[in-house]
Protein backbone atom coordinates (compact mmCIF):
# COMPACT_ATOMS: atom_id res chain seq x y z
CA UNK A 1 0.00 0.00 0.00
CA UNK A 2 2.94 2.34 0.64
CA UNK A 3 3.95 2.22 -3.02
CA UNK A 4 0.34 2.87 -3.97
CA UNK A 5 0.14 5.89 -1.65
CA UNK A 6 3.41 7.25 -3.04
CA UNK A 7 2.26 6.69 -6.62
CA UNK A 8 -1.03 8.51 -6.00
CA UNK A 9 0.77 11.35 -4.17
CA UNK A 10 3.26 11.75 -7.00
CA UNK A 11 0.50 11.84 -9.60
CA UNK A 12 -1.68 14.28 -7.65
CA UNK A 13 1.29 16.56 -6.91
CA UNK A 14 1.93 16.83 -10.63
CA UNK A 15 -1.76 17.24 -11.39
CA UNK A 16 -2.36 19.98 -8.82
CA UNK A 17 1.06 21.59 -9.09
CA UNK A 18 1.42 21.46 -5.33
CA UNK A 19 2.98 18.90 -2.96
CA UNK A 20 0.34 16.32 -2.00
CA UNK A 21 0.52 13.79 0.82
CA UNK A 22 -1.72 10.69 0.69
CA UNK A 23 -2.92 9.23 4.00
CA UNK A 24 -5.47 6.74 5.31
CA UNK A 25 -5.31 4.54 2.24
CA UNK A 26 -7.88 1.68 2.46
CA UNK A 27 -9.10 -0.87 -0.03
CA UNK A 28 -12.80 -0.60 -0.79
CA UNK A 29 -15.01 -3.26 -2.33
CA UNK A 30 -12.59 -5.02 -4.65
CA UNK A 31 -14.37 -5.93 -7.84
CA UNK A 32 -13.32 -8.94 -9.83
CA UNK A 33 -11.60 -6.83 -12.43
CA UNK A 34 -10.80 -3.48 -10.87
CA UNK A 35 -9.77 -2.21 -7.51
CA UNK A 36 -11.12 0.77 -5.59
CA UNK A 37 -9.09 2.49 -2.89
CA UNK A 38 -10.19 5.26 -0.57
CA UNK A 39 -7.76 7.87 0.74
CA UNK A 40 -7.23 11.39 2.03
CA UNK A 41 -5.06 13.88 0.17
CA UNK A 42 -3.40 16.65 2.15
CA UNK A 43 -2.38 19.82 0.36
CA UNK A 44 -0.68 22.51 2.51
CA UNK A 45 -3.10 25.28 3.44
CA UNK A 46 -6.19 23.50 2.13
CA UNK A 47 -8.90 21.34 3.71
CA UNK A 48 -8.30 17.60 3.42
CA UNK A 49 -9.56 16.16 0.14
CA UNK A 50 -11.61 12.96 0.57
CA UNK A 51 -10.88 10.94 -2.55
CA UNK A 52 -11.19 7.53 -4.16
CA UNK A 53 -9.19 5.92 -6.95
CA UNK A 54 -10.43 3.26 -9.35
CA UNK A 55 -7.47 1.29 -10.63
CA UNK A 56 -7.26 -1.25 -13.43
CA UNK A 57 -4.49 -3.84 -13.18
CA UNK A 58 -3.82 -3.33 -16.88
CA UNK A 59 -5.33 -1.45 -19.82
CA UNK A 60 -5.80 -4.86 -21.49
CA UNK A 61 -9.02 -5.49 -19.49
CA UNK A 62 -10.67 -2.19 -20.36
CA UNK A 63 -14.09 -2.35 -21.97
CA UNK A 64 -14.28 1.36 -22.62
CA UNK A 65 -10.96 3.23 -22.58
CA UNK A 66 -10.69 4.66 -19.07
CA UNK A 67 -10.68 8.18 -20.53
CA UNK A 68 -14.05 7.51 -22.20
CA UNK A 69 -15.48 6.03 -19.01
CA UNK A 70 -14.42 9.10 -17.03
CA UNK A 71 -15.70 11.53 -19.67
CA UNK A 72 -19.13 9.93 -20.01
CA UNK A 73 -19.48 9.75 -16.24
CA UNK A 74 -18.73 13.45 -15.88
CA UNK A 75 -21.15 14.14 -18.77
CA UNK A 76 -23.84 12.23 -16.86
CA UNK A 77 -23.00 14.27 -13.76
CA UNK A 78 -23.54 17.51 -15.71
CA UNK A 79 -27.03 16.24 -16.52
CA UNK A 80 -27.97 15.47 -12.94
CA UNK A 81 -27.06 11.80 -12.65
CA UNK A 82 -25.60 11.21 -9.17
CA UNK A 83 -21.95 10.11 -9.54
CA UNK A 84 -18.77 10.91 -7.62
CA UNK A 85 -17.04 13.68 -9.56
CA UNK A 86 -13.89 12.55 -11.36
CA UNK A 87 -11.00 14.98 -10.92
CA UNK A 88 -8.32 13.34 -13.02
CA UNK A 89 -7.66 10.38 -15.28
CA UNK A 90 -4.27 8.78 -15.78
CA UNK A 91 -3.40 6.31 -18.52
CA UNK A 92 0.27 6.09 -17.54
CA UNK A 93 0.79 2.77 -15.68
CA UNK A 94 3.97 4.18 -14.11
CA UNK A 95 2.24 5.62 -11.01
CA UNK A 96 0.15 2.77 -9.61
CA UNK A 97 0.74 -0.11 -12.04
CA UNK A 98 -2.22 0.48 -14.34
CA UNK A 99 -4.59 3.15 -15.65
CA UNK A 100 -6.75 4.83 -13.01
CA UNK A 101 -8.96 7.78 -12.19
CA UNK A 102 -9.34 9.82 -9.03
CA UNK A 103 -12.78 10.91 -7.87
CA UNK A 104 -14.52 12.37 -4.88
CA UNK A 105 -15.23 9.87 -2.12
CA UNK A 106 -18.94 9.54 -1.45
CA UNK A 107 -20.12 7.78 1.70
CA UNK A 108 -22.54 4.90 1.39
CA UNK A 109 -22.93 1.16 0.96
CA UNK A 110 -22.50 -0.69 -2.32
CA UNK A 111 -22.25 -4.33 -1.21
CA UNK A 112 -25.70 -5.67 -2.20
CA UNK A 113 -26.77 -7.42 0.99
CA UNK A 114 -25.57 -4.49 3.12
CA UNK A 115 -27.42 -2.11 0.82
CA UNK A 116 -30.61 -4.13 1.28
CA UNK A 117 -30.20 -4.22 5.06
CA UNK A 118 -29.76 -0.44 5.10
CA UNK A 119 -32.69 0.14 2.76
CA UNK A 120 -34.95 -2.07 4.89
CA UNK A 121 -33.81 -0.52 8.17
CA UNK A 122 -34.46 2.97 6.85
CA UNK A 123 -37.63 2.06 4.96
CA UNK A 124 -36.36 3.75 1.79
CA UNK A 125 -36.80 0.99 -0.82
CA UNK A 126 -39.39 2.89 -2.86
CA UNK A 127 -37.27 6.03 -2.72
CA UNK A 128 -34.11 4.29 -3.94
CA UNK A 129 -35.99 2.57 -6.79
CA UNK A 130 -37.55 5.90 -7.78
CA UNK A 131 -34.20 7.68 -7.64
CA UNK A 132 -32.63 5.00 -9.83
CA UNK A 133 -35.43 5.45 -12.38
CA UNK A 134 -34.88 9.20 -12.27
CA UNK A 135 -31.10 8.85 -12.71
CA UNK A 136 -31.56 6.60 -15.74
CA UNK A 137 -34.08 9.00 -17.30
CA UNK A 138 -31.56 11.84 -16.95
CA UNK A 139 -28.86 9.72 -18.57
CA UNK A 140 -31.18 8.74 -21.41
CA UNK A 141 -32.14 12.37 -22.04
CA UNK A 142 -28.57 13.26 -23.04
CA UNK A 143 -27.90 13.69 -26.76
CA UNK A 144 -25.67 10.68 -27.64
CA UNK A 145 -23.67 12.96 -29.94
CA UNK A 146 -22.27 14.57 -26.79
CA UNK A 147 -20.75 11.28 -25.57
CA UNK A 148 -16.95 11.00 -25.81
CA UNK A 149 -15.77 9.91 -29.25
CA UNK A 150 -14.00 6.80 -27.99
CA UNK A 151 -17.04 5.45 -26.10
CA UNK A 152 -18.20 1.99 -27.27
CA UNK A 153 -20.88 2.23 -29.92
CA UNK A 154 -23.36 -0.05 -31.66
CA UNK A 155 -23.39 0.98 -35.33
CA UNK A 156 -26.50 -1.12 -36.11
CA UNK A 157 -29.88 0.58 -35.86
CA UNK A 158 -31.35 -1.99 -33.48
CA UNK A 159 -29.45 -2.76 -30.27
CA UNK A 160 -31.80 -5.67 -29.51
CA UNK A 161 -30.85 -7.39 -32.76
CA UNK A 162 -27.14 -6.90 -32.06
CA UNK A 163 -27.58 -8.39 -28.58
CA UNK A 164 -29.57 -11.32 -29.97
CA UNK A 165 -26.92 -12.16 -32.58
CA UNK A 166 -24.19 -12.03 -29.93
CA UNK A 167 -26.10 -14.28 -27.54
CA UNK A 168 -26.89 -16.75 -30.33
CA UNK A 169 -23.19 -17.01 -31.13
CA UNK A 170 -22.40 -17.74 -27.47
CA UNK A 171 -25.20 -20.32 -27.35
CA UNK A 172 -23.81 -22.10 -30.40
CA UNK A 173 -20.39 -22.31 -28.72
CA UNK A 174 -21.61 -24.11 -25.58
CA UNK A 175 -19.75 -27.41 -25.21
CA UNK A 176 -22.90 -29.10 -23.86
CA UNK A 177 -26.45 -28.58 -25.18
CA UNK A 178 -28.81 -26.61 -22.91
CA UNK A 179 -32.36 -26.85 -24.31
CA UNK A 180 -33.72 -24.39 -21.72
CA UNK A 181 -31.40 -21.70 -23.09
CA UNK A 182 -32.39 -22.65 -26.64
CA UNK A 183 -36.04 -22.21 -25.65
CA UNK A 184 -35.22 -18.76 -24.28
CA UNK A 185 -33.40 -17.90 -27.51
CA UNK A 186 -36.44 -18.90 -29.55
CA UNK A 187 -38.65 -16.66 -27.40
CA UNK A 188 -36.26 -13.77 -27.99
CA UNK A 189 -36.30 -14.36 -31.76
CA UNK A 190 -40.11 -14.51 -31.84
CA UNK A 191 -40.45 -11.33 -29.76
CA UNK A 192 -37.55 -9.30 -31.17
CA UNK A 193 -38.50 -5.62 -30.88
CA UNK A 194 -38.05 -3.15 -33.70
CA UNK A 195 -35.48 -0.38 -33.41
CA UNK A 196 -36.32 1.86 -30.43
CA UNK A 197 -37.83 5.27 -31.15
CA UNK A 198 -34.75 6.85 -29.60
CA UNK A 199 -31.34 5.30 -29.10
CA UNK A 200 -29.61 6.71 -26.04
CA UNK A 201 -26.48 6.48 -23.98
CA UNK A 202 -26.97 3.29 -21.92
CA UNK A 203 -25.08 2.53 -18.72
CA UNK A 204 -25.68 -1.28 -19.11
CA UNK A 205 -24.87 -2.23 -15.49
CA UNK A 206 -26.89 0.03 -13.16
CA UNK A 207 -27.97 -2.68 -10.72
CA UNK A 208 -27.78 -3.39 -7.00
CA UNK A 209 -24.05 -3.81 -6.45
CA UNK A 210 -23.10 -0.83 -8.61
CA UNK A 211 -25.21 1.63 -6.63
CA UNK A 212 -23.97 3.63 -3.67
CA UNK A 213 -26.77 4.03 -1.13
CA UNK A 214 -26.91 5.86 2.20
CA UNK A 215 -29.70 6.43 4.72
CA UNK A 216 -30.70 9.40 2.55
CA UNK A 217 -31.19 7.23 -0.53
CA UNK A 218 -29.29 6.75 -3.79
CA UNK A 219 -25.96 8.57 -3.60
CA UNK A 220 -24.27 7.44 -6.82
CA UNK A 221 -24.42 5.17 -9.84
CA UNK A 222 -21.00 3.52 -10.21
CA UNK A 223 -19.08 1.41 -12.69
CA UNK A 224 -19.48 3.06 -16.08
CA UNK A 225 -16.92 0.86 -17.83
CA UNK A 226 -19.53 -0.82 -20.07
CA UNK A 227 -21.49 2.30 -21.07
CA UNK A 228 -22.43 2.48 -24.76
CA UNK A 229 -23.31 5.44 -26.96
CA UNK A 230 -26.36 4.16 -28.86
CA UNK A 231 -28.40 1.67 -26.86
CA UNK A 232 -32.03 0.81 -26.21
CA UNK A 233 -32.91 2.67 -23.01
CA UNK A 234 -35.12 -0.23 -21.91
CA UNK A 235 -31.98 -2.35 -21.58
CA UNK A 236 -30.98 -0.09 -18.68
CA UNK A 237 -34.38 -0.42 -16.98
CA UNK A 238 -34.56 -4.20 -17.39
CA UNK A 239 -31.07 -5.04 -16.12
CA UNK A 240 -31.57 -3.98 -12.46
CA UNK A 241 -34.90 -5.87 -12.53
CA UNK A 242 -33.36 -9.33 -12.96
CA UNK A 243 -33.89 -11.76 -10.10
CA UNK A 244 -30.16 -12.24 -9.55
CA UNK A 245 -29.80 -8.64 -8.36
CA UNK A 246 -32.53 -9.02 -5.71
CA UNK A 247 -30.40 -11.09 -3.34
CA UNK A 248 -33.27 -13.21 -2.01
CA UNK A 249 -35.78 -10.32 -1.93
CA UNK A 250 -37.52 -11.97 -4.86
CA UNK A 251 -40.82 -10.14 -4.47
CA UNK A 252 -39.16 -6.75 -4.98
CA UNK A 253 -38.38 -6.69 -8.67
CA UNK A 254 -36.05 -3.71 -8.72
CA UNK A 255 -32.83 -4.73 -6.99
CA UNK A 256 -34.69 -6.10 -3.97
CA UNK A 257 -35.57 -2.48 -3.14
CA UNK A 258 -39.13 -2.16 -4.39
CA UNK A 259 -41.62 -3.24 -7.02
CA UNK A 260 -41.69 -1.84 -10.52
CA UNK A 261 -44.12 1.04 -9.87
CA UNK A 262 -41.91 3.53 -8.00
CA UNK A 263 -39.02 2.77 -10.39
CA UNK A 264 -41.10 3.48 -13.50
CA UNK A 265 -42.75 6.47 -11.82
CA UNK A 266 -39.31 7.94 -11.14
CA UNK A 267 -38.25 7.31 -14.72
CA UNK A 268 -41.36 8.91 -16.21
CA UNK A 269 -41.38 11.86 -13.81
CA UNK A 270 -37.88 12.73 -15.08
CA UNK A 271 -38.99 12.56 -18.71
CA UNK A 272 -38.33 8.90 -19.59
CA UNK A 273 -40.75 6.90 -21.77
CA UNK A 274 -41.31 3.41 -20.34
CA UNK A 275 -42.11 0.57 -22.75
CA UNK A 276 -43.27 -2.58 -20.91
CA UNK A 277 -42.83 -4.93 -23.89
CA UNK A 278 -39.27 -3.86 -24.62
CA UNK A 279 -38.54 -4.01 -20.89
CA UNK A 280 -39.79 -7.63 -20.81
CA UNK A 281 -37.65 -8.53 -23.83
CA UNK A 282 -34.49 -7.11 -22.30
CA UNK A 283 -35.15 -8.97 -19.05
CA UNK A 284 -35.18 -12.24 -20.99
CA UNK A 285 -32.10 -11.25 -23.00
CA UNK A 286 -30.20 -10.24 -19.86
CA UNK A 287 -31.06 -13.49 -18.09
CA UNK A 288 -30.03 -15.62 -21.07
CA UNK A 289 -26.85 -13.63 -21.57
CA UNK A 290 -25.91 -14.02 -17.90
CA UNK A 291 -26.45 -17.79 -18.11
CA UNK A 292 -24.14 -17.84 -21.13
CA UNK A 293 -21.63 -15.69 -19.27
CA UNK A 294 -21.56 -18.15 -16.36
CA UNK A 295 -21.09 -21.02 -18.81
CA UNK A 296 -18.22 -19.08 -20.35
CA UNK A 297 -16.60 -18.62 -16.93
CA UNK A 298 -16.54 -22.36 -16.31
CA UNK A 299 -15.10 -22.85 -19.81
CA UNK A 300 -12.34 -20.34 -19.00
CA UNK A 301 -11.51 -22.36 -15.90
CA UNK A 302 -11.48 -25.65 -17.78
CA UNK A 303 -9.35 -24.44 -20.70
CA UNK A 304 -6.87 -22.87 -18.28
CA UNK A 305 -7.28 -19.28 -19.44
CA UNK A 306 -8.63 -18.23 -15.99
CA UNK A 307 -8.13 -21.03 -13.51
CA UNK A 308 -10.20 -20.26 -10.39
CA UNK A 309 -12.60 -22.15 -8.16
CA UNK A 310 -15.01 -19.23 -8.43
CA UNK A 311 -15.02 -19.49 -12.22
CA UNK A 312 -15.40 -23.26 -11.99
CA UNK A 313 -18.40 -22.89 -9.66
CA UNK A 314 -20.10 -20.55 -12.15
CA UNK A 315 -20.90 -23.51 -14.38
CA UNK A 316 -23.03 -25.01 -11.63
CA UNK A 317 -24.96 -21.75 -11.34
CA UNK A 318 -26.32 -22.06 -14.88
CA UNK A 319 -29.51 -23.87 -13.72
CA UNK A 320 -30.44 -20.88 -11.52
CA UNK A 321 -30.49 -18.67 -14.58
CA UNK A 322 -32.28 -21.34 -16.60
CA UNK A 323 -35.01 -21.37 -13.97
CA UNK A 324 -35.33 -17.58 -14.02
CA UNK A 325 -35.41 -17.69 -17.83
CA UNK A 326 -38.11 -20.38 -17.95
CA UNK A 327 -40.27 -18.37 -15.53
CA UNK A 328 -39.91 -15.32 -17.81
CA UNK A 329 -40.99 -17.20 -20.97
CA UNK A 330 -43.83 -19.27 -19.47
CA UNK A 331 -46.24 -20.16 -22.31
CA UNK A 332 -49.54 -18.29 -22.04
CA UNK A 333 -51.73 -21.23 -23.11
Amino acid sequence: MTDLAEGLAEFLSGHLGEPVTVTGLAASSAGARRGNVLFDAEVPGRPTLRLAATILPTAAIELNPITAEAAVRNLAEEHGVPVPHIHAVCTDPGFVGGPFFVSDRVDGESVPRRVLRLVQAEGIGDRVAGQLGEALARLHAIDPARAPGDLMDDPSGNPAETALVGADRMLAELPLPRPALALGMRWLECHLPTAPPRRTIVHTDARNGNLLVSARGLEAVLDWEGTVRHGDPMQDLAWPALRMWRFKEDGREIGGFAGREPFVAGYEAAGGAFDAERFAWWKVLGTLRWALGLAGQSAAHLDGSFRSIVMAASGRRVPELEWDLLMLVRPSH
Binding site: L176, P177, R178, P179, A180, L181, A182, L183, M185, R186, E189, R243, D250, G251, E253, K283, S308, I309, V310, A312, A313, R316, R317, P319, E320, E322, W323, L326, M327, L328, V329, R330, P331, H333
Partner: protein, 125 residues
Protein backbone atom coordinates in the same frame (compact mmCIF):
# COMPACT_ATOMS: atom_id res chain seq x y z
CA UNK B 1 -15.70 -51.88 -3.65
CA UNK B 2 -14.50 -49.09 -1.40
CA UNK B 3 -15.06 -49.34 2.32
CA UNK B 4 -17.13 -46.62 4.04
CA UNK B 5 -17.42 -43.63 4.24
CA UNK B 6 -19.25 -43.17 0.94
CA UNK B 7 -18.37 -40.40 -1.50
CA UNK B 8 -21.31 -38.32 -0.20
CA UNK B 9 -20.20 -38.80 3.40
CA UNK B 10 -16.63 -37.79 2.57
CA UNK B 11 -17.81 -34.73 0.66
CA UNK B 12 -19.86 -33.75 3.72
CA UNK B 13 -16.72 -34.12 5.85
CA UNK B 14 -14.77 -31.88 3.45
CA UNK B 15 -17.58 -29.31 3.51
CA UNK B 16 -17.58 -29.34 7.33
CA UNK B 17 -13.82 -28.76 7.41
CA UNK B 18 -14.11 -25.84 5.00
CA UNK B 19 -17.12 -24.27 6.72
CA UNK B 20 -16.35 -24.84 10.40
CA UNK B 21 -12.56 -24.91 10.64
CA UNK B 22 -10.98 -23.22 7.64
CA UNK B 23 -13.41 -20.40 6.95
CA UNK B 24 -12.89 -18.69 10.33
CA UNK B 25 -9.11 -19.20 10.07
CA UNK B 26 -8.27 -18.08 6.53
CA UNK B 27 -7.34 -14.45 5.74
CA UNK B 28 -10.12 -12.21 4.40
CA UNK B 29 -8.76 -12.45 0.87
CA UNK B 30 -9.44 -16.21 0.85
CA UNK B 31 -12.83 -16.27 2.56
CA UNK B 32 -14.93 -15.97 -0.59
CA UNK B 33 -13.09 -18.77 -2.37
CA UNK B 34 -13.28 -20.94 0.74
CA UNK B 35 -17.05 -20.38 0.92
CA UNK B 36 -17.34 -21.27 -2.77
CA UNK B 37 -15.33 -24.46 -2.24
CA UNK B 38 -17.53 -25.46 0.72
CA UNK B 39 -20.64 -24.86 -1.36
CA UNK B 40 -19.22 -26.99 -4.18
CA UNK B 41 -18.58 -29.84 -1.74
CA UNK B 42 -22.24 -29.57 -0.64
CA UNK B 43 -23.36 -29.62 -4.29
CA UNK B 44 -21.34 -32.77 -4.94
CA UNK B 45 -22.69 -34.37 -1.76
CA UNK B 46 -26.24 -33.80 -3.05
CA UNK B 47 -25.24 -34.94 -6.54
CA UNK B 48 -24.06 -38.25 -5.10
CA UNK B 49 -27.44 -38.79 -3.50
CA UNK B 50 -29.78 -37.33 -6.12
CA UNK B 51 -27.80 -37.41 -9.37
CA UNK B 52 -28.56 -40.92 -10.67
CA UNK B 53 -32.35 -40.61 -10.33
CA UNK B 54 -32.28 -37.08 -11.76
CA UNK B 55 -30.28 -38.25 -14.78
CA UNK B 56 -32.71 -41.12 -15.40
CA UNK B 57 -35.74 -38.81 -15.19
CA UNK B 58 -34.04 -36.31 -17.51
CA UNK B 59 -33.44 -39.01 -20.16
CA UNK B 60 -37.06 -40.15 -19.88
CA UNK B 61 -38.41 -36.63 -20.21
CA UNK B 62 -36.19 -35.83 -23.18
CA UNK B 63 -37.00 -39.11 -24.91
CA UNK B 64 -40.74 -38.54 -24.40
CA UNK B 65 -40.42 -35.19 -26.18
CA UNK B 66 -38.08 -35.92 -29.07
CA UNK B 67 -38.54 -39.66 -29.39
CA UNK B 68 -35.86 -42.27 -29.81
CA UNK B 69 -33.70 -42.94 -26.82
CA UNK B 70 -33.85 -46.31 -25.19
CA UNK B 71 -30.14 -46.16 -24.52
CA UNK B 72 -29.28 -45.46 -20.92
CA UNK B 73 -25.83 -43.91 -21.11
CA UNK B 74 -24.73 -40.32 -20.77
CA UNK B 75 -24.02 -39.90 -24.48
CA UNK B 76 -27.63 -40.72 -25.15
CA UNK B 77 -28.76 -37.93 -22.79
CA UNK B 78 -26.49 -35.43 -24.54
CA UNK B 79 -27.80 -36.53 -27.94
CA UNK B 80 -31.41 -36.13 -26.75
CA UNK B 81 -30.69 -32.71 -25.25
CA UNK B 82 -29.05 -31.63 -28.51
CA UNK B 83 -32.10 -32.77 -30.44
CA UNK B 84 -34.47 -30.92 -28.10
CA UNK B 85 -32.33 -27.78 -28.30
CA UNK B 86 -32.68 -27.99 -32.10
CA UNK B 87 -36.42 -28.75 -32.04
CA UNK B 88 -37.37 -25.87 -29.69
CA UNK B 89 -35.73 -23.48 -32.14
CA UNK B 90 -37.45 -25.00 -35.20
CA UNK B 91 -40.84 -26.41 -34.20
CA UNK B 92 -43.49 -23.70 -33.90
CA UNK B 93 -46.29 -26.01 -32.79
CA UNK B 94 -47.63 -24.37 -29.59
CA UNK B 95 -48.43 -27.76 -28.11
CA UNK B 96 -44.84 -28.92 -28.56
CA UNK B 97 -43.50 -25.66 -27.16
CA UNK B 98 -45.73 -25.94 -24.08
CA UNK B 99 -44.72 -29.58 -23.53
CA UNK B 100 -41.06 -28.65 -23.93
CA UNK B 101 -41.43 -25.85 -21.39
CA UNK B 102 -43.08 -28.21 -18.87
CA UNK B 103 -40.37 -30.84 -19.32
CA UNK B 104 -37.55 -28.29 -19.07
CA UNK B 105 -39.05 -26.87 -15.88
CA UNK B 106 -39.14 -30.38 -14.40
CA UNK B 107 -35.53 -31.07 -15.49
CA UNK B 108 -34.45 -27.72 -14.06
CA UNK B 109 -36.11 -28.50 -10.73
CA UNK B 110 -34.01 -31.67 -10.52
CA UNK B 111 -30.85 -29.72 -11.43
CA UNK B 112 -31.63 -27.12 -8.76
CA UNK B 113 -32.28 -29.75 -6.08
CA UNK B 114 -28.57 -30.49 -6.47
CA UNK B 115 -27.08 -27.12 -7.39
CA UNK B 116 -29.26 -24.63 -5.48
CA UNK B 117 -32.07 -26.09 -3.38
CA UNK B 118 -34.95 -23.67 -2.92
CA UNK B 119 -34.26 -21.54 -5.99
CA UNK B 120 -37.37 -22.99 -7.65
CA UNK B 121 -39.62 -21.96 -4.76
CA UNK B 122 -40.08 -18.59 -6.47
CA UNK B 123 -42.08 -18.95 -9.67
CA UNK B 124 -42.57 -15.26 -10.39
CA UNK B 125 -40.77 -12.95 -12.75
Amino acid sequence: MQYQPSAAELLAAIAELLEDDLLPAVPDALKHRTRVAANLARILEREEALGPDAARRERERLAALVGGGGGADGDDAVRLALELARRVRADDDPGFQADAWEALVAICRDDLAIAKPGHDAWEGQ
